[in-house]
């Protein structure tokens, strides 16, 4: 069933016409591969303090010593010796007007409707191209409230003390895994957000990450500190052009979020990398007393994704809500899941994951919940559901739990099934084209999750999935 439809989902046309690369116009392109010289060169280029260079070099050492992940999708086709880890586009950095960005680059963001959205619904926007943040702008009235929203490179320069305390220390250590270490050595760009005590950021802040060159690497760093009783919604979007060959790109970003006492952070992410891209990403939040982190995590693109957003519920009353949508089509392997550590009493985790696969693609839910001794009166519920759109695609679930405390409530549900032939028959018998029928069934499947999302985000997800189905050739 649906074979033609499913195999045709292979094309990546869901980037507002951005599936083709721009010509490569770079001020600097590192030689392919990993070297200490390059680490020094990046640090020097950014005029970093000595301690950051040392941190990069330590990370490089850790990277060399650590083994590749021994679980999940195969990374054997990822040849790090072919990847250019640092690319500086031929443009000024940190601009606050779109007009100053070279036209062909600006067009990418315009196709995505970002400058338009900035005017209407966003409080601030960052736009990274290759290794550099070209645009970063925050609305004046937000700036006046003491909110900081700047390029992470700039953040390091302006707030060295905050960076010393929070940058790849307690949250994501370079020792977390091999690609976190690689990130620590080669990070460039990304976003730094600080929300002062009691400030609720009215409009979402958004950053968009675009990779362009063949065999490129992108290592943006996102550091968010939400001070006591503050609130912020951050939206992240990602994409890259499609290369019709076997070349690979590598995206290895790192997100660190500190949700201080009583604060609330919502992190919405829509990753739509091309099918050349290895997306080996790290996201983690540390949540203090009565704080709340909300992850909205959707992964549609990439060749391989390994991403397990992690929440440390460090103090009493800390909460995490995780909503995940993952879609793998032909030659895609999406390995994602939510990790939660309940370290204090009255903590709460609520995880809902929806996976889709078609055209021989594989999605896996790989989650982990740990309830430590002493986290009395804590609750955890995990629900993962999978829908396969044909017989050759796979959905796997690897949920695991370690419960060390008796006085807790824990639940887990997992269901995986194939799209119903009878349902398709019912809908098509009324005259709906098959792709509309499939589309409708898919949107019914993700609907309970979609309705929890902010409206713009929900529209975007629906649009991307509909486009995938629309571009198919049933």
């Amino acid at each position: 069933m649906n074979n033609e439809f499913l195999s045709s989902l292979n094309t990546n046309k869901t980037q507002g016409g951005n599936d083709q690369p721009n010509p490569e116009r770079l001020l600097f392109k590192s030689l392919p591969g990993i070297s200490e010289d390059l680490v020094r060169k990046i640090s020097e280029d950014k005029s970093e303090p000595e301690w950051m260079l040392q941190k990069r070099l330590e990370s490089l050492q850790i990277f060399k010593e650590m083994k590749m992940p021994n679980f999940g999708p195969s990374l054997k086709d990822l040849n790090l010796n072919e990847i250019h880890l640092f690319l500086k586009p031929d443009s000024k950095k940190n601009l606050t007007s779109w007009e100053e960005i070279p036209t062909e680059i600006r067009q990418v963001y315009e196709n995505l409707g970002i400058p338009e959205a900035e005017k209407k619904t966003l409080g601030g926007v960052g736009a990274q191209y290759e290794s550099e943040m070209l645009y970063h702008n925050l609305k004046k009235d937000l700036e006046n409230q003491g909110i900081i929203f700047i390029n992470c490179d700039e953040g390091l320069k302006k707030y060295p003390d905050l960076f010393k305390k929070y940058f790849m220390t307690e949250c994501v250590s370079p020792k977390s895994h091999k690609f976190a270490a690689l990130h620590g050595a080669f990070w460039s760009g990304g976003t730094f957000i600080y929300v002062p005590k009691g400030v609720k950021v009215e409009f979402p802040l958004q950053a968009y990450f675009r990779m362009n060159s063949k065999n490129s690497g992108q290592f943006e760093h996102t550091l968010i500190i939400a001070d006591e009783n503050s609130e912020v919604h951050y939206i992240e979007g990602c994409s890259s052009p499609n290369y019709e060959d076997k070349s690979s790109g590598l995206h290895s970003g790192c997100v660190e979020i500190y949700v201080l006492k009583g604060a609330k952070v919502r992190y919405s992410s829509l990753e739509n990398w091309s099918k050349n891209t290895y997306n080996l990403n790290t996201k983690k939040a540390v949540v203090y007393e009565n704080g709340k982190i909300e992850w909205i995590n959707s992964n549609l693109g990439s060749k391989v994704t390994m991403l397990y957003p992690c929440s440390i519920l460090l103090e009493k009353g800390a909460k995490v809500d995780y909503l995940g949508i993952t879609y793998a089509s032909t030659n895609q392997n999406q390995d994602t899941g939510c990790k939660v550590y309940h370290l204090a009493p009255d903590t709460n985790s609520h995880v809902v994951s929806k996976s889709l696969s078609s055209g021989g693609g594989t999605t896996s839910y790989r989650g982990f919940v740990n309830l430590k001794k002493g986290c009395k009166n804590s609750k955890s519920s995990v629900t993962c559901e999978g829908l396969m759109l044909d017989d050759k695609s796979k959905i796997k679930t690897f949920p695991s739990m370690e419960v060390e405390e008796k006085d807790v409530k824990v639940s887990h549900e997992a269901t995986v099934g194939k799209i119903g032939e009878e349902e398709i028959f019912y809908l098509t018998s009324r005259g709906l084209p098959k792709k509309d029928a499939i589309n409708l069934l898919v949107s019914g499947f993700i609907e309970p999750l979609i309705k929890e999302l902010p409206i713009e985000y929900a529209i975007e997800i629906n649009r991307l999935i509909e486009l995938e189905i629309e571009n198919s050739s049933i």
């Binding site: 019912y426 809908l427 098509t428 009324r430 084209p433 409708l440 069934l441 949107s443």
Partner: protein
Amino acid sequence: MLEIKNLSVACEEKIILDNLNLKIETGKIHVIMGPNGSGKTTLAKVLMGHPKYKIIHGEILLYNKSIIGLSPEELAKKGVFLSFQTPLEIPGITLSNFIRKAYNSIKEKKFSVLEFRELLEKKAKEIDLKREFLDYHINKGFSGGEKKKSEILQMLVLNPSIAILDETDSGLDIDSLKSVSKGILNFIKENSSNENKSILIITHYKRILEYLHPDKVSIMINGKIVMEGDESLIYQLEKKGYGWLKEESKNLEE
């Protein structure tokens, strides 16, 4: 209008329809009755182009043109409609939006959202289906009877040339049966002036037929039509049961 000649159909290597012959005349109400497992629902699904069934041989002609191999979507465009024995519950879209989507994909005439809503509400009222159900997801939260009404509502709005009603009467209480029958009669009547409609009713019970008065009755056993007649055949069957016909059918085979 619809003619089936020597049709044999298999599903998973098992023959279900066996050299079946049937002719449904334009403008008529045609009834098929038969014991459980005789292949009635298979026939309905085959006529609607279900991909699961394999047609071994035979012909299905709609207005003298073969419709074998057409997809359900294409058949819907040609005016074939199937009211499901067990209507499915499908979340993700409201009944109202679904019917509009279906309408727009098979019909030339386009309605504005408002006009279409008016039409839907009018038709829903005809069969006593509460308006609120239009805003539920397809058949979600509907009772058995309301699901059947939802099928009839779709038929009334999509206005096909031939409607196949697969046990639409099962599970209905007396009031719902009356409402559904009224809908079916309206479907025929409303159209008698301009275009002719046919209805193929698959049922186990004579009670719906008391409202509808079929023009022709065919009895199906083991994938074949074994006997045909007028309305009086139903009463004969009521008295004697299928046992009598099974004997006839055996004799027929021998």
